[in-house]
């Protein structure tokens, strides 16, 4: 009992200052991926969609403004498992975003237009 | 008008009521209409008699002891002498009040018929006999009246002799009543022979001349003898057997009044007949009261039958009254006459209160039994919607008996507590500690009483009905006037506490010679109990304040209520898909924590049988039974009963039936008589 008290005094306040100050330990959190549209082609996109265990990725062909494909990414369904990053380490990186609360479900559905298919 | 005159009027009223009931109601061949009319007339007469008794009781409180009146009598037993004494004032007023309430209750409760007619006749005669006990001025009158009450009550309990457990309950009542009676006779005989008079006044005047040993013996005999009637532990076992099996108004009379006969007897010996004695007598009384109170309520918590539950609660309240009397005696022994008188007053106040709300609760138990068909709490539920008026009246009685402010139970228990808290004023550390222990026991009892009555009111009245009978209960045709009158009396005894204390302090001054009123009620509405500079409280202000605190915010809300839409949603039941009434608390599970904490007292036995060995119990029902060990019956009474039976068996050969042997007995006795006469 007294040792606990002494240890507490030595360590000081451990409470995070979030949201007033950024929290340094947040850097180590697993986060949803960010996609580099230039490096993802249709085949890779298909593979990523199959890989995702929680059905967060969907490829919609020809939905982009210039007729290109769009990778629809549902951030709400993403479990940050990292399989898409493992499969395409250059194209898919961790976004580092953990403040993901949304007031509408639609805010979490992101459209990532892929590069236009080369003729 | 002289108090005794009122009592004569009461006795006449009740006597006439008995006659009307008997003649009109049980005449052979009488039409149903005449029987009903006769019974109603009898009840009206009974109510008038009750009113007269209330008047007499109140006037004897206020105007002191009346003169002693002799009414003839045989040479052998002496004359019958009556006196309206101040000490009995509370008891007679209570008798009258209960009589009025029961008279209002009886017509709707009893079926018109010969059985009810005889019952009502016997009941009215019991009222007369009880009045005689309270107004008895000499020993013989007291004893004859006492025994009459016992025998008549035995008949009251036997209203339905062929029903289950009725006969055994009545037998327990009579057996232990007679045992107590023997001890009471012994106590009176000791005092009467030592004081050379049968008159209670004379005995009281000469008691200080009686040697202390005889006085103590008389008091101990009286405490035990009257303790049988009052229900002190371990002399109480007849109470939960006898009180539930009588009809509801009989139970109300037994618990509300007949038990008070025992309390009256103890008060008579402790405060009127005997001078202040040694401290150990008071401590013994105090201990008896404390043990009774705690054990009474602990056993009450394990009862499923409403009336058995109330019977054990009566035992608890007897304990509280005896605590007050015992503590008074202890203070008296240490020279604190003000506290001696004060605790007597508090005890008498509690007598009045308990008589009122216990009668109310028993009457309502009768209503519930007739409406829902059962007394078992686990088969009731939701009665507050089906019997709304009875529910409100029962709530008043429950709040009273649980000693919650602002009702009357709170006032009297608070006064007793305040008296007990003065224990340090005796000057002896040991006594102070013992009195504090008694106060702690009283505190435990009060807490458990609240627990018990939350259970006693909540399980039958609140929640959902647990059976179809309970769901079909209806208030049509149920009596409400009688219990309603008692509920009004509860409120009056609380709000009008200053008036009650005024009357009681006058009575106590007559009995003890101590003038409490200037100490107790310096202002008009504030009560200073026990001692100045200790505490103060006003029951009247408290009642007004509590009502205002509940009513005023409601009025404000109703007047300026915001226009928010309100949504009605079902009761939060934990999200259950289908909430069934059987998922509610049952009476036994609600009190299960006490069985765990006090298992040394209860020694519960548990039997668990499964139909199969499957641990999940999937293939068959599981039977679970738990029972509280009847400690007193098993370890105290059974050995005594067995000893008596052994003795009887040993003596039986004398009655062999052989004529020759009997002739031999006659010869031997005559021989002995000649020898003794010759010597």
């Amino acid at each position: 009992m007294p040792m606990w008290f002494a240890r507490g005094l030595r360590r000081g306040i451990v409470t995070t200052r979030y949201p007033a100050r950024p929290e340094p330990s947040a850097a180590g959190l697993p986060t949803p991926p960010a996609f580099d549209a230039q490096r993802i082609d249709a085949a890779l996109a298909d593979r990523l969609c199959e890989l995702c265990p929680s059905r967060a990725l969907r490829l919609v062909k020809g939905d982009g403004e210039a007729g290109g494909d769009v990778l629809v990414f549902d951030v709400g369904a993403c479990t940050a498992c990292g399989r898409c990053q493992e499969a395409a380490p250059g194209a898919v990186t961790a976004s580092g975003e953990f403040e993901l609360a949304a007031t509408a479900r639609g805010h979490l559905v992101k459209r990532i237009p892929l590069a236009e298919a080369r003729p | 008008m002289n108090s005794l005159t009122w009592f004569y009027a009461a006795a006449v009223g009740w006597g006439l009521a008995a006659a009307v009931a008997l003649l009109g109601g049980s005449a052979p061949g009488a039409a149903r209409g005449t029987v009903k009319g006769a019974l109603r007339a009898a009840c009206v007469l009974s109510a008038l008699g009750g009113a007269a008794a209330v008047a007499g009781g109140v006037s004897s409180l206020l105007w002191g002891n009346s003169r002693v009146v002799s009414l003839g009598g045989a040479v052998v037993v002496g004359t019958m002498q009556l006196q309206a004494s101040s000490l009995a004032g509370v008891f007679t007023a209570l008798l009258g009040l209960v009589a009025v309430a029961l008279a209002a209750y009886a017509p709707r409760y009893h079926e018109a018929g010969a059985g009810s007619a005889v019952y009502l006749a016997v009941y009215n005669l019991t009222l007369v006999a009880a009045l005689a006990v309270f107004t008895a001025a000499n020993v013989v009158t007291f004893l004859v009246a006492w025994e009459s009450v016992a025998l008549l009550c035995y008949l009251l309990i036997l209203r339905h002799p062929r029903r289950d457990t009725v006969a055994s309950g009545a037998f327990w009542f009579l057996a232990l009543s007679e045992t107590g009676f023997v001890l009471i006779i012994a106590a009176f005989v000791i005092l009467a022979t030592q004081a050379h008079s049968m008159q209670l006044d004379v005995i009281a005047a000469r008691a200080h001349l009686v040697p202390a040993g005889w006085r103590d013996a008389a008091y101990l005999l009286a405490l035990t003898g009257f303790g049988f009637k009052a229900g002190l532990v371990p002399l109480h076992v007849w109470l939960p057997e006898a009180h539930p099996v009588a009809p509801a108004d009989g139970s109300a009379f037994l618990s509300g009044l007949v038990v008070k006969l025992g309390a009256y007897g103890i008060a008579l010996f402790a405060f009127r007949l005997l001078p202040i004695g040694a401290a150990w007598l008071g401590l013994l009384t105090l201990a008896a009261g404390a043990v009774t109170a705690a054990i009474g309520i602990l056993y009450a918590l394990n009862e499923r039958d409403l009336k058995r539950f109330l019977a054990f609660s009566t035992i608890e309240n007897t304990g509280i009254i005896v605590i007050a009397f015992g503590a008074a005696m202890v203070f008296g022994s240490y020279g604190r006459r003000d506290l001696w008188a004060f605790l007597l007053l508090a005890g008498l106040y509690h007598v009045a209160n308990h008589g009122t709300y216990k009668s109310l609760l028993f009457l309502e138990a009768g209503v519930v039994e007739h409406a829902a068909g059962t007394r078992d709490m686990d088969r009731l539920g939701g009665l507050i919607h089906r019997l709304p008026r009875s529910a409100v009246i029962t709530l008043v009685g429950t709040l009273g008996i649980a000693a919650l402010p602002p009702l009357n139970g709170f006032v009297s228990e608070w006064l007793i507590f305040q008296g007990l808290f003065q224990g340090f004023r005796t000057g002896s550390h040991l006594i102070g500690i013992l009195i504090v222990l008694a106060a702690a026991t009283l505190g435990l009892t009060s807490g458990l009483a609240i627990y018990a009555f939350v259970r006693g009111y909540g399980i039958p009245f609140l929640g959902m009905p647990r059976t179809r009978q309970a769901a079909a209960a209806s208030e049509r045709g149920q009596p409400t006037a009688g219990p309603g009158l008692l509920a009004a009396a509860c409120v009056a005894l609380a709000v009008g506490a200053p008036l009650v204390l005024l009357a009681l302090s006058r009575a106590v001054r007559t009995v003890t010679g101590v003038a409490l009123r200037p100490l107790l009620l310096p202002g008009n509405l504030t009560v200073i109990p026990a001692h100045t500079d200790f505490s103060a409280f006003s029951p009247t202000y408290l009642a007004v304040f509590l009502i205002a605190v509940t009513v005023v915010p409601v009025l404000i809300y109703l007047a300026g209520r915001p226009r928010a839409d309100s949504v009605t949603v079902p009761v939060w039941d934990g999200g259950m898909v289908a909430f069934r009434p059987r998922m509610q608390y049952s009476a036994m599970t609600f009190s299960a924590p006490t069985r765990v904490t006090f298992d040394a007292l209860y020694r519960p036995s548990v039997s668990l049988r499964r139909a199969s060995d499957d641990p999940a119990g999937r293939s068959g029902p599981v039977h679970y039974e738990t029972e509280v060990t009847p400690v007193f019956l098993r370890y105290l009474y059974r050995p005594v009963i067995r000893a008596v039976e052994w003795l009887a068996d040993t003596v039986r050969p004398i009655q062999s039936g052989d004529v020759n042997l009997y002739l031999l007995y006659v010869f031997v006795v005559i021989l002995l008589a000649y020898l003794i006469g010759a010597l």
């Binding site: 996609f35 929680s54 976004s95 975003e97 993901l100 949304a102 509408a104 479900r105 992101k110 | 939060w572």
Partner: protein
Amino acid sequence: MSGNDMAASGGAGPATGPALGGRAGEAGQEQRVAAELRARVARQFGRSLHIRTLDTGSCAVCEQEIRLLAAPHYDLHRLGFFFTPAPRHADLLMVTGPMIRAFGVAARKTFDAMPGPKIVVATGACALGGVYPADAFTHGGVGEVLPVDVWIPGCPPSPLALLQGLLVAVDRLAEKVAGLTFIAGAQPGEVPE
């Protein structure tokens, strides 16, 4: 927010996604109403909020993260948030799990037992409709049964994410994810072609 006015609309605030061109006027109107509601809710709950958690069939990891909120490191009490088991005393319902069908009645009863105004926060990927599709056992997401106001993604959402979600629910922090694109190299808020 789930006040009585917005119950029918499922509690969603302004139109989904960033403002769409042609319906700007309507969206603006809705946004104003939503903003008023949010302001009212922030006034009511801004300083003290009682949270009731509801597990509709999750793997209990979200519950562990929620429980960590009361630990000294995150300490939600300093923000004025408290946990309460009684829906009658709760302002905010924090729902985890994919809303299995067996729990639908209980969830609805819990929501109904809460007095208005009340907020529903769906927490975790299961509750948001990911991981488990709707089938015979599950509704596939809390939004099928209850009107949800705030969605917190994550599997599980870390306590920091939960704190941010709660603060967004009571309008003490602005929502951030609407402006994110999850396109590597893009500036935040930049709408792709």
